[in-house]
């Protein structure tokens, strides 16, 4: 008989279930299959009702985040061979409300994303849509913010963040990293407009520097560093505004 691997998935259907349950599937083991391949196999062959998000299956769209044996991972780029012959447990991303099975509610994240004003803000508004020329930006200037542009909004960092787990109002790692990205783009002049949100009670100061967000980031964005640098920036700003008598 061909080798098999056991995958236990959290199931929850609000139409029929009062609480979460676990279901175990045995599937053929392939050492080059990702967890997403396994889920697609289960859905096509064993259980059409199993529900999860996925799309690009190349680790760039950010859809297929889930807890794999307790750690937030992308299902498409996490392989069965890392666990075999052991078993795999899949759960919805931690710290988010569950909609169904492995699908979680992202509305809170999407709203925070907008709050940080992630777009180029210019003092002179007519600059923003002027196509007569491009802004000049050197590679060195790009290096100041480029790493933070790599965030795919997969929200693994929120699932790993103990602060977000306890205080859902916390702005959170990916959104702060995005604010940092625009604040440090030489084309942008909107730092003051973002400061209120980033330096608020639920902003950077809530972070207790556990660093798990950076640990689980599949794109090495290092949100933790973005948060700490934003703290420094806000503190400096506070200090200088105090000196100038603005406070």
């Amino acid at each position: 008989m061909a080798e098999e691997i056991k995958i236990t998935v959290t199931r929850y259907n609000p139409d029929t279930d009062k609480e979460l349950r676990q279901q175990t599937y045995s599937i053929p083991y392939h050492n080059d299959w990702g967890i997403l391949d396994a889920l697609n196999y289960i859905k096509a062959e064993l259980d059409g009702s199993l529900t999860y998000r996925w799309s690009c299956r190349m680790a760039v769209c950010g859809s297929c985040g889930m807890m794999v044996n307790g750690t937030p991972r992308l299902a498409c780029s996490t392989y069965l061979n890392e666990f075999y012959p052991g078993e795999i447990t899949l759960e919805p991303l931690a710290n988010f409300p569950i909609i169904r099975d492995l699908v979680v509610e992202l509305t809170d994240f999407m709203e925070k994303l907008k709050e940080v004003k992630p777009w180029i803000i210019r003092k002179n508004k007519s600059d923003e849509d002027d196509t007569s020329s491009e802004y000049i930006q050197t590679t060195k200037q790009m290096d100041n913010y480029y790493q933070q542009t790599l965030c795919i909004n997969c929200t693994l960092c929120y699932a790993a963040c103990p602060v977000y787990g306890l205080h859902p109002d916390f702005v959170g790692p990916a959104v702060i990293a995005l604010g940092y990205r625009y604040n440090n783009d030489s084309r942008d002049q909107g730092k003051d407009e973002r400061r209120k949100f980033l330096a608020s009670e639920d902003g950077v100061w809530k972070c207790t520097v556990v660093g798990d967000c950076t640990e689980v980031c599949p794109k090495h964005v290092d949100p933790s560093a973005s948060i700490q640098r934003t703290k420094v920036d806000n503190a400096t700003n506070w200090f200088f505004s105090f000196l100038k008598g603005n406070k």
Binding site: D32, C56, L106, L113, W119, I120, D127, T131, L150, N153
Partner: protein, 569 residues
């Protein structure tokens, strides 16, 4: 049924849809505009585009040169007036996206950098490393957030266009989250639903590309154009079909067969690896057919070799290629060649529309890969599609703004009765649980096998006839499907059923148009008719739905100043 009302509704939140949405919100913020998307917009397939976006920015380049390269690349099937508009608008559009924050790679002086791409006679492919689509989509999505007037319906699935007397009045859409269908009324609808790739087994396309826009337009009575032209990208990563960008050849990568020979010298000696995609893809298949491919668990392949570029250049210009190879094939291109073969990549055809995205249905527009203007003709040059979604997304947006300034909305009663018809159809066709024998997964697997084998890179009369029969049989099997459940919340099985129905409809059109076109042109290669035949086939194909199956008509190609000539590289 609930009616949600807008002035303009954009279906699809990828590059074209967001570009259209921003344009409308910018030009006329008093309009009620919305973007509806199956996924969160930043998860759209534009995110996966890698290599770059073509536009004339440099002093040694010109719009005429970009136009000529595009038309020659298209094997002279592109409409030349449309191409001229495209290359002209392209320059402003790439500057615009720069001003909206796209982190383009830079020259030493801080201006936007360009790289070589297949079939382009100048360095004009602007790029953000090899994550250009990702950066472009995120720049558009994040910029779109600044417009409070642009409403979004995230994770809603559009099931049908509501068309009354040749005029669109809105759509019927499913809120995936609640499982409730609603009417979304709009005076204008812009379809930006992307391509059809998931009907093939070996494809670079994301799971969401299921021919939805083409199928719903076709069912609503409008024609779809040039569907026989499917682009196979030369370098799909073995097993998965994941795209390894053309930029890897643009930056100097080589293709080798198992004898260690750079075989492109036999097929396109002046361009080598930088010949257009149709030519490179066919050359790879020729090598494999001649027994000069490597053998692997998942079939034959050839090598894309980047080792001579060195780690520094690979990390600077092609970091995602390295990531993808490591994550999805266990190969490090710094030290090993990459196993690849051609992968289904892009649909040159699509919803028949003009330079402003206008379709034959009043108030209905299309843009991006979903539409067919046509600027790609029989073969798209790499890096023209990211530019296309900017240019034609913006143009469709502006055209819709103008149209709705005088257009009247459809009556709510009429929309209710159109929606009810469609709801009855959905109940009857998809939502029957447990009384059919056929599984969606099995039909989909068979469709993909049929498309790969019978409607792939090389086509023959016999194969296409077979393919058409097989697709017809799959359509019959679809009548006997059953879902395992009828749950409301996030019923992805119901969505899969609707998507499969769309793909079956459009697969039939692709196979039929390929059978009728007895010539080889661009991406359409007939073994039994190996040459281009301008006398009989220098025309577009338009296909309409009829009760006897797809009905095909032809449409002349617009030629302005570039006469068709033999295509040599």
């Amino acid at each position: 049924m609930d009616i949600l009302t807008h002035d303009i509704l954009i279906v699809g939140g990828g590059g074209a849809g967001l570009r259209a949405g921003i344009e409308i919100s910018r030009v006329n913020p008093s309009l009620k505009t919305a973007v509806i998307s199956k996924v969160y917009p930043m998860r759209s397939h534009t995110v996966a585009a890698e290599g770059g976006s073509a536009a004339v920015l440099k002093a040694d380049d010109s719009h005429d040169l970009h136009a000529y390269d595009t038309i020659k690349g298209s094997d002279f099937l592109a409409d030349q007036d449309a191409v001229e508009v495209f290359v002209r608008d392209a320059t402003n559009e790439v500057r615009q996206i720069e001003r909206w924050g796209c982190p383009w790679n830079r020259e030493e002086d801080g201006t936007i950098a360009a790289r070589w791409f297949g079939g382009m006679s100048r360095k004009r492919t602007l790029h953000a490393a090899d994550k250009t689509g990702f950066h472009l989509l995120h720049a558009l999505f994040q910029t779109s957030l600044k417009y409070d007037t642009l409403k979004r319906y995230d994770e809603w699935h559009v099931s049908a266009l509501l068309v009354d007397n040749g005029k669109v009045g809105g759509v019927l859409a499913l809120n995936t989250r609640t499982g409730v269908f609603s009417i979304i009324a709009a005076k204008a609808v812009i379809l930006c639903t992307g391509g059809v790739g998931r009907m093939y087994a070996f494809t670079s396309n994301a799971g969401i590309l299921t021919a939805d826009g083409a199928a719903m337009t076709y069912r609503a009575g409008a024609p779809i154009k040039d569907m026989e032209f499917i682009q196979f990208h030369p370098s799909g990563l073995m097993r998965t079909g994941i795209l390894i960008t053309e930029a890897s050849r643009g930056e100097g990568g080589y293709l080798f067969n198992k004898d260690g020979k750079r075989f492109m010298e036999n097929y396109a000696p002046s361009k080598m690896e930088l010949a257009p995609r149709d030519i490179v893809s066919r050359s790879i298949i020729e090598e494999i057919l001649a027994g000069r491919g490597f053998q692997g668990t998942y079939g034959s392949y050839i090598h894309l070799d980047l080792r001579h570029l060195g780690e520094a250049k690979i990390m600077d210009k092609l970091p995602m290629v390295r990531e993808l190879c490591l994550d999805f094939a266990g190969v490090d291109p710094v030290h090993e060649p990459i196993p690849i073969r051609p992968t289904m990549h892009y649909t040159m055809g699509g919803i028949h529309c003009d330079k402003d995205g206008k379709t034959p249905i009043t108030g209905l527009y299309a843009a991006g890969e979903a539409g067919c203007v046509s600027i790609h003709g029989a073969n798209r040059l790499g890096s023209n599609s990211l530019t296309e979604l900017l240019v034609f997304g913006a143009r469709a947006g502006r055209a819709a703004v103008e149209y709705v300034s005088t257009a009247k909305p459809a009556s709510n009663d009429r929309l209710q009765s159109l929606a009810k018809e469609r709801m009855d159809f959905i109940q009857k066709r998809y939502m029957k649980a447990g009384n059919g024998k056929e599984k969606i997964g099995a039909i989909l697997t068979d469709l993909r096998k049929t498309m790969d084998e019978k409607v792939g890179i090389y086509r023959t009369e016999e194969g296409l006839k077979d393919g058409i029969q097989l697709i017809q049989r799959l359509k019959e099997r679809f009548n006997k499907i059953s879902l395992t459940q009828q749950s409301r919340v996030f019923n992805t099985e119901l969505i899969q059923a609707m998507e499969l129905d769309n793909m079956l409809e459009i697969a039939h059109v692709i196979a039929l148009c390929a059978q009728v076109r007895k010539e080889s042109r661009g991406g359409h290669a007939r073994k039994d008719y190996p040459t281009r035949n301008d006398e009989q086939f220098l025309h577009h194909s338009l296909t309409y739905m009829s009760k006897d199956g797809p009905r095909r008509e032809t449409l002349p190609v617009t030629i302005t100043k570039w006469q068709p000539e033999e295509r040599k590289y």
